[in-house]
């Protein structure tokens, strides 16, 4: 079974790209590359992180991000990528000011540990605040009037890992135990409308390993259950197999038939002996084992029937050039086609 190839219209109309995946698979890296790929000619893309880990500033190698939105990179084709690190406390204060004009009471809340309380332990409140900020950015327009141009053509969210993504996005359910009416509740309702609309997709990043793939499958099911659309599967850190399938098969059939290999090694000027030949053969056999396991994981991914993108493992780690290379790969596989038609009607 081979995986579903992306088509140029997969993400037409999408304005909010949420990126999740098992911890450490490359969510932050992929979100950054995606934002660069989406930042085509003249467009502005907002890249948001919500875990206060400064992943964006580290990835782009720029000074730390605060509450202000700041340009962190040029897009692949002349657009710009703006970074934002949302902080739950700041979002709560902003929110309280907006709805209650609290003034001095704001400071009091902080002193009594209420802000801590609301942003860390009150179930769901923290998530509503964080996504609330993302929601606001997706709908924001230049100038005060409703008809103004959109501030951002697309928003990319570097989201929590698969283990927490369902709970994080299921804001409505999260605040169910809270006020039945009132601003938090209303906010949650509008957020849910955006998240469940065709303007939002959740992309899942995985490696070709058992646990990340399993978590991807579980997350896809959970997201669908809560009414969200799974976007792309992005297979990250793929290694090019150096050895052809035929060569692997030959080694497996007859691991001791090394005459031709020894002849080649000799003519390449190496001192041929059992350690060298046996070692190289074993190296090839190990690769064969790994490729077989990877094939199993690929088949699992294909069963999800989602557009699948492939990103190479960069040998020299991630510098600015590496990030562009990944953005290029995403663009080349069609992730940002029809970007210009994507202007929809946001809530």
């Amino acid at each position: 079974m081979s995986d579903r190839r992306p088509t140029s219209s997969d993400w037409a109309g999408v304005r909010l790209h949420i990126v999740s995946g098992k911890g450490g698979t490359g969510k932050t890296t992929v979100a950054a590359a995606l934002a660069m790929a989406l930042a085509t000619e003249g467009s502005r893309v907002l890249l948001v992180e919500v875990e206060a880990r400064q992943g964006i500033s580290q990835t782009f190698d720029v000074p730390q991000l605060g509450e202000e939105e700041r340009r962190v990179a040029r897009g692949l084709h002349g657009g710009e990528v703006v970074g934002l690190s949302v902080d739950a406390k700041a979002a709560l204060m902003e929110y309280l000011q907006m709805f209650y004009k609290l003034g001095r009471a704001g400071g009091m809340l902080e002193r009594f540990g209420v802000v801590d309380f609301a942003t860390t332990i009150a179930p769901g409140v923290r998530d509503v605040l964080l996504i609330g900020k993302v929601y606001e950015a997706v709908g924001r327009r230049e100038g005060k009037r409703r008809g103004g141009d959109r501030t951002y053509d697309a928003v990319v969210l570097d989201a929590p890992p698969t283990g927490r993504i369902g709970r994080f996005l299921n804001v409505n359910h999260e605040v169910a135990g809270l006020a039945k009416v009132g601003p938090v509740r209303q906010q949650a309702d509008s957020i849910t409308r955006l998240l469940q609309s065709p303007q939002t997709v959740v992309h899942l990043v995985t490696l070709l390993e058992e646990m990340p793939v399993q978590e991807t499958i579980d997350a896809a099911a959970e997201l669908e259950r809560i009414g969200m659309r799974v976007g792309a599967i992005i297979v990250n850190q793929e290694r090019q197999p150096l050895l052809s399938p035929q060569a692997v098969a030959t080694l497996r059939e007859d691991p001791d038939g090394t005459t031709l290999l020894e002849k080649d090694l000799g003519s390449a000027g190496l001192r041929v002996g059992p350690v060298l030949t046996g070692g190289l053969v074993q190296t090839g056999l190990d690769l064969g084992d790994r490729l077989e396991l990877e094939a199993q994981e690929r088949a699992e991914i294909a069963r999800l029937e989602r557009p699948t993108y492939h990103l190479p493992l960069l040998r020299d780690g991630l510098d600015a050039g590496g990030l562009r290379e990944l953005a290029d790969a995403l663009a080349g596989q069609g992730i940002c086609a029809n970007q210009d038609e994507s202007e929809g009607t946001a809530g």
Partner: protein
């Protein structure tokens, strides 16, 4: 296989296993480095060496769980049938169920009617199943329970191996329980519950203006019912065991016991080793007994004498050879390039480990080779166990 070796003490897990003074082995490290795998491997090896072992795993990969006979999520230990019991030992395995563990704490400490009230409280439900730190807290709690289990007046297990929750930072295992504890004992929560207590009145007088405004604002945002739930919850817990923080500190103290041995697990990469060195330093500060560092998934090469550069040069010289049917020079060149790739990786790993060694020369360490595939059965765990002796 051979790895580049360093002049450091070898961590031999057999020394730990063979000493009856070792009662608890805790496997820590940052996310995804192999804590669960290491815990399972150590437990299997100890059981097959004759010890009566329990292993507490947290979120094991599905296939590993199956290998341990843990098809169903189980907070209770079940015997692992595939271990060899001929040396007189045995292995019971279990997975941490944090909600169940939390529920049991409540059931064991509160009067029956009160317990039901707490279990039904929405605030309790949120905290017990999702709050950051709950898993760490409950892992410690469960460990405490297991240590206390007795059969005929003697401890049920003579060795307990514990895995730690997947978290970004290894330190979370030590810090999260206290953080959760202080939080639940925190100022705002105290304020909310203060009126319910004796002596609360005077206190309330002084701060009442503030409390009024604060609670008012909170009630507006969160709803009055929610605040009421929090109040009931905290008051109930209070009467149960006088504070979460205290309890967290008690379990923490268990870990300072000389019968405990910490194994810090890391992969041979910069980030994981940096986490490991923070953790090692922290254990020293807390007076916790560190056994050593397990460097897991180290890239080994079958032909250590052939450098990457030499292999690439040899491959290039084969590129011009005419192709043959069957095994062709291009295939030989591909094998050489494959080896070069691995050799390079293994040099990078050795360098990363070398940096750790330079800054922590007295920490014993052992290297576990990266297996060609995931570790899914008891035989593979045995192999890892063998590597953990440094042999």
């Amino acid at each position: 296989m051979t790895a580049v070796t360093h002049e450091v003490d070898v961590l031999d897990v057999d020394t730990l296993i063979e000493s009856s003074a070792t009662r608890t082995i805790v496997c820590c490290g940052s996310g995804g480095v192999g804590k669960t795998t290491t815990a399972a491997a150590v437990a299997v090896r100890a059981a097959e060496a004759g010890r009566t072992v329990a292993v507490l795993t947290i979120d094991p990969a599905r296939r590993l769980a199956q290998a341990l006979g843990l098809e169903e999520m189980g907070n209770e230990p079940v015997p692992v049938p595939t271990v060899d019991r001929s040396a007189g030992g045995s292995l019971d395995a279990m997975m941490l169920d944090m909600k169940r563990t939390f529920d049991e704490v409540v059931l064991n400490h509160a009067a029956p009617d009160k317990a039901q009230q707490i279990l039904a409280n929405p605030f309790y439900q949120a905290v017990s199943s999702s709050f950051a730190g709950t898993q760490e807290y409950m892992a410690m709690e469960r460990l405490g329970q297991l240590m206390a289990e007795r059969v005929d007046g003697r401890p049920r297990w003579d060795l307990i191996v514990v895995d730690t929750p997947p978290s970004r930072s290894a330190l979370d295992f030590l810090d999260a329980p206290k953080r959760l504890g202080s939080f639940l004992d925190g100022r705002f929560i105290r304020l909310l519950t203060a009126p319910a207590k004796v002596g609360g009145r005077a206190y309330l007088k002084v701060v009442s203006v503030g409390v009024g405004a604060v609670s008012g604002a909170m009630a507006k945002v969160l709803g009055a019912q929610f605040l009421a739930d929090v109040q009931t919850f905290v008051a109930a817990l209070d009467t149960m065991f006088g504070g979460f923080r205290e309890r967290a500190e008690q379990t923490f103290a268990l870990l300072q016991n000389p019968g405990t041995a910490f194994l810090v697990v890391a992969t041979p990469e910069r980030d994981a080793l940096r986490e490991a060195s923070y953790f090692v330093d922290r254990l020293a500060e807390e007076g916790m007994p560190l056994a050593g560092l397990v460097v897991n998934r180290v890239q080994m090469t079958y032909v250590p004498s052939l450098s990457a550069a030499r292999a690439v040069a040899a491959a290039e010289s084969l590129d011009d050879e005419p192709s043959r049917s069957g095994w062709s020079p291009a295939d030989s060149a591909a094998l050489l390039r494959l080896h070069a790739d691995i050799a390079e990786q293994s040099v990078r790993h050795a360098a990363a480990v070398g940096r750790f060694t330079a800054s922590h020369p007295d920490i014993a360490q052992v290297q576990v080779p990266s297996a060609a595939h995931d570790v899914n059965d008891v035989e593979e765990l045995r192999q890892i166990g063998e590597s953990l002796t440094g042999a």
